[in-house]
């Protein structure tokens, strides 16, 4: 009998496992896949390491910061800052036709760019920054309002609005076009006010640290352990049944696999659930024979869009190349050059089309 079973060995499942193990709970994390990571994972092919999902870690803070989300996470998981081997970004850019906004870690560069490119919006931009919800405000009244509605009251230039939304939506928008103002605030802070960094060895470094800590604390991690049902008694989760029929009992079940999938495992018919989200991405990873900088890609990330209007929605075609994120793991401020020669391009995609193609082949 476990105190808690956790579904999914992604970062959130692993972190939850560590916190519960600190509190002396018997915890088991169940993961369907052959490896940890979930949406932010990694693989190795032909002697090269590839990351899946995250381009960078947001919420960057230099060593010694004690108050930001990164410092809090490290403390709650009892990890050392240096163990992450973080390197800050070299600089990023939002590229729309004829207008570019550069940003780095901390607000200074973006603020200067807004002042230069959108002089009549500079004061309004400051008001937007001042009105962002804080990390403690999430879930309070007002944070569930439309971000576009609130930002639209503060900024009056539609182009600047679209440009600022572009990275925020790409890095944290699970729904089409808009998001809650609370979530927008968190992402705005994490990207523009704090910033981007990358562990030198990639996302595997974060996952390795989490798994090691979890196991040190006596936590159990089971890979290739897909859950086919959550056992309910009197409306409370009492355990799970694995794909192979094994039943595991627990006082509590925590799920990190999303609302819809969790409800399905609880036996709610798919027809009774709200439809799944529309947002999917396709990423291509190119291994180049030269550093990306030699091809003119000097930035950490370029968020591009080919017209003044930004369409963050599911395309009818398999992929929407009109906007996207171009990112290179080479372009972080490492102590020694990365020499990975990797370029990643992420675009919005239509999941159903890809799934149908995969079935055909």
């Amino acid at each position: 009998m476990y105190d808690t079973l956790i579904l999914g060995a992604g970062m959130s499942g692993l972190a939850a496992g560590i916190r519960l193990a600190h509190y002396d709970q018997r915890v088991c994390i169940l993961e369907r896949h052959t490896t940890v990571g979930g949406l932010n994972s990694f693989y190795r092919r032909h002697g090269r390491n590839f990351d899946v999902g995250l381009h960078a870690l947001t919420n960057y803070a230099p060593k010694g910061d004690r108050q930001g989300p990164l410092a809090r996470l490290l403390r709650q998981l009892r990890l050392r800052y240096d163990d992450l081997e973080l390197a800050p970004q070299t600089g990023s850019r939002i590229a729309f036709p004829e207008v570019t906004l550069r940003f780095g870690n901390g607000l200074d560069l973006l603020r200067e760019e807004v002042r230069r490119q959108f002089p009549d919006q500079a004061d309004r931009f400051e008001r937007l920054v001042a009105s962002l919800a804080g990390y403690e405000d999430l879930g309070r009244a007002g944070t569930e309002r439309s971000a576009r509605e609130i930002v639209g009251l503060l900024l009056t230039d539609p182009l600047l609005i679209e440009m600022l939304f572009c990275p925020v939506l790409f890095y944290g928008g699970s729904r089409e076009r808009d998001m809650e103002f609370g979530q927008f605030s968190i992402l705005f802070r994490s990207i523009y006010l704090e910033g981007l960094a990358r562990p030198r060895p990639g996302v595997r470094q974060v996952l390795k640290l989490l798994v090691r800590r979890f196991k040190q604390l006596g936590g159990q991690l089971r890979l290739r352990a897909g859950v086919c049902r959550i056992v309910l008694r009197g409306g409370a989760a009492q355990g799970v049944v694995l794909d192979d029929g094994t039943e595991i009992a627990a006082r509590c079940v925590l799920s990190s696999i999303g609302w819809r999938e969790t409800m399905r495992l609880c036996g709610v018919p798919a027809g009774d659930l709200p439809p799944a989200g529309q947002i999917s991405f396709v990423e291509s990873i190119s291994v180049l024979d030269v550093p990306p900088a030699r091809l003119g890609m000097n930035e950490t990330a370029v968020f591009y869009n080919d017209s003044p209007a930004f369409h963050y929605a599911r395309p009818d075609e398999a992929i929407d190349p009109r906007s996207g994120v171009v990112c290179s793991p080479d372009n972080f401020d490492y102590p020694t050059p990365a020499e990975e020669n990797i370029l990643r391009v992420t675009c919005l995609a239509n999941y159903d089309r890809w799934a149908a193609d995969a079935m055909r082949s």
Binding site: D24, A71, R72, Q76, R78, Y81, D82
Partner: protein, 86 residues
Amino acid sequence: MTPDEIRETVLDILSDIAPDEDLSGLDPDRPFRDQLDMDSMDFLDIVMELRKRYRVQIPEEEYPALASMTSTVEYLTPRMKDIPKK
């Protein structure tokens, strides 16, 4: 445990919870909150570690006693005097 041993125990827990902190310059009379930017979750972690390691139960209304090193040692001395140091 003597007050000195209790102090060592608390330092040990603090260094586990905040591995990046240099605790050598900790002022025993100033609140941990001010010196280490600790929040309520961190205090809960200290309470939990004391319970796990030494079976010391601290009721929630007495958490304020853990504000600084001096107040913590003072508070724990009668409660841990018969517990051997690990």
